[in-house]
Symmetry: C2
Subunit: 254 residues, 2 copies
């Protein structure tokens, strides 16, 4: 048993998580849900409301408040890659007309933090793609570009920790092929995603590092195979994305 973890925090967290799923709930519903005495749940709810993590609607039910959004965005602002990359992501999306995004590494996983849709993008797997979503690094173009910055040793740690569960039939699910792929990425300087994360989505990604900030990130362009093939997919976009990465990288060091 993990020694000394504050039980009330864990409980509070579970309540929040569940409440996100439930969208809204009354105190008694929550007490029911967690099979806790009403009075105890009241103390949690009151406290969570007091610190502004949840908010009471006019019908008396509670929902998770926008503080999470606020804090999340404040944290984003702390990463100076975000400030630097954000306008470039936008320009990249405009120039290519496709989807462009910025991912940062956190706990050896990828967090999508910024995204813009170009004019060619009809609509996205919106459900799956929003700021803050985490994904395994081996599944995406930015992710693989980030992975390529790790040593083989570290990569094995990552795969051991998170596994290599497939997301599509193209996902790389074995370590050795992954390491080969990573080697290729290291050589050519960019990573390709051939429908390995989403069906109908190909992508081109490049990594960005900031030593001083102890930070690892990646940018990528994504689009459908009918537009992402041959020249654009294999030459044009890799070059374009690399140029944007260079700009960002440059601006990072002032």
């Amino acid at each position: 048993m993990s020694p000394q973890l504050l039980k009330s925090l864990r409980r509070a967290n579970h309540i929040i998580e569940r409440l996100v799923e439930m969208e809204a709930a009354s105190v008694s519903e929550l007490a029911e849900e967690f099979d806790m005495p009403l009075s105890t749940m009241y103390e949690y709810v009151n406290t969570l409301e007091n610190i502004n993590y949840i908010t009471k609607r006019s019908d008396g039910r509670y929902r998770v408040s926008s503080s999470f959004l606020e804090i999340g965005n404040q944290v984003l602002r702390n990463h100076n890659v975000y400030d630097v990359a954000e306008p470039e992501i936008r320009r990249l999306a405009e120039q290519t007309g496709e989807f462009a995004g910025l991912m940062i590494e956190e706990d050896r996983a990828g967090v999508l933090v910024s995204m813009k849709k170009g004019e060619k993008v009809k609509r996205l797997q919106v459900n799956r793609t929003y700021p803050g979503v985490k994904s395994r690094l081996n599944t995406t173009a930015y992710g693989k570009a980030i992975l390529a910055q790790f040593s083989d040793e570290e990569i094995r740690e990552v795969t051991d920790r998170y596994g290599l569960h497939p997301r599509t039939e193209n996902t790389i699910t074995e370590v050795d092929p992954l390491l080969e792929e990573i080697d290729r990425i290291r050589e050519q300087g960019y990573a390709l995603d051939d429908e390995e994360c989403f069906n109908g989505m190909r992508g081109v990604g490049v990594s960005i590092t900031s030593k001083g900030d102890d930070l690892l990130a990646g940018i990528a362009v994504y689009g459908p195979p009918n537009r992402f093939r041959d020249g654009p997919f294999l030459e044009e976009y890799p070059e374009t994305v690399q140029e944007y990465a260079d700009v960002i990288q440059g601006n990072l060091e002032y």
Copy 2:
């Protein structure tokens, strides 16, 4: 003393808030900061890490994790106004070339949840304007449009609760003028912000309601006085914004 509020949750919250400001900190720095025993701070930090609210960087220091961003955006997705309004905000920004945003009401304050910059927008008071920021309802165009949905009685409650502290020299700081202004808004159907929130920023806002969802929101266009004057400010934009609000309102009821 507020009876029965869970102390550990409050403390955890303070730690998170402080850690956002500090960007990164070691356990001992935090213990110092809060003047708590090291061992106690360890338990907080370990627990917060365990529930993924903070994350340990490679240098051993901690920072607030992206979970907040993730949860925040999940919550956003729960509001169906967001889904409906988001594309319209984008189109509104494109059509006008100005800044367009969506605000929702929460705890009688305004939360900016979506924003797009049109091509004419050079750069914003970016520091002050990001998803999740709260502002008093009397200070903005969307805010005032939202306020106009409340009864005079309720408006007085709001001002009593949050006060009417000026943000610029144009901010309305007295209740009676505010109520007059709100009356005007109710009649004409839209709200104007003449540099009442930010110097150099005028805006036009309209409210959106969704009875079924017990929800109150507003959209607005913002821009500089040199482009926001006479016709556009007084006639064209109000009409445009109203049209977009109608579309959103319509889509809300399926």
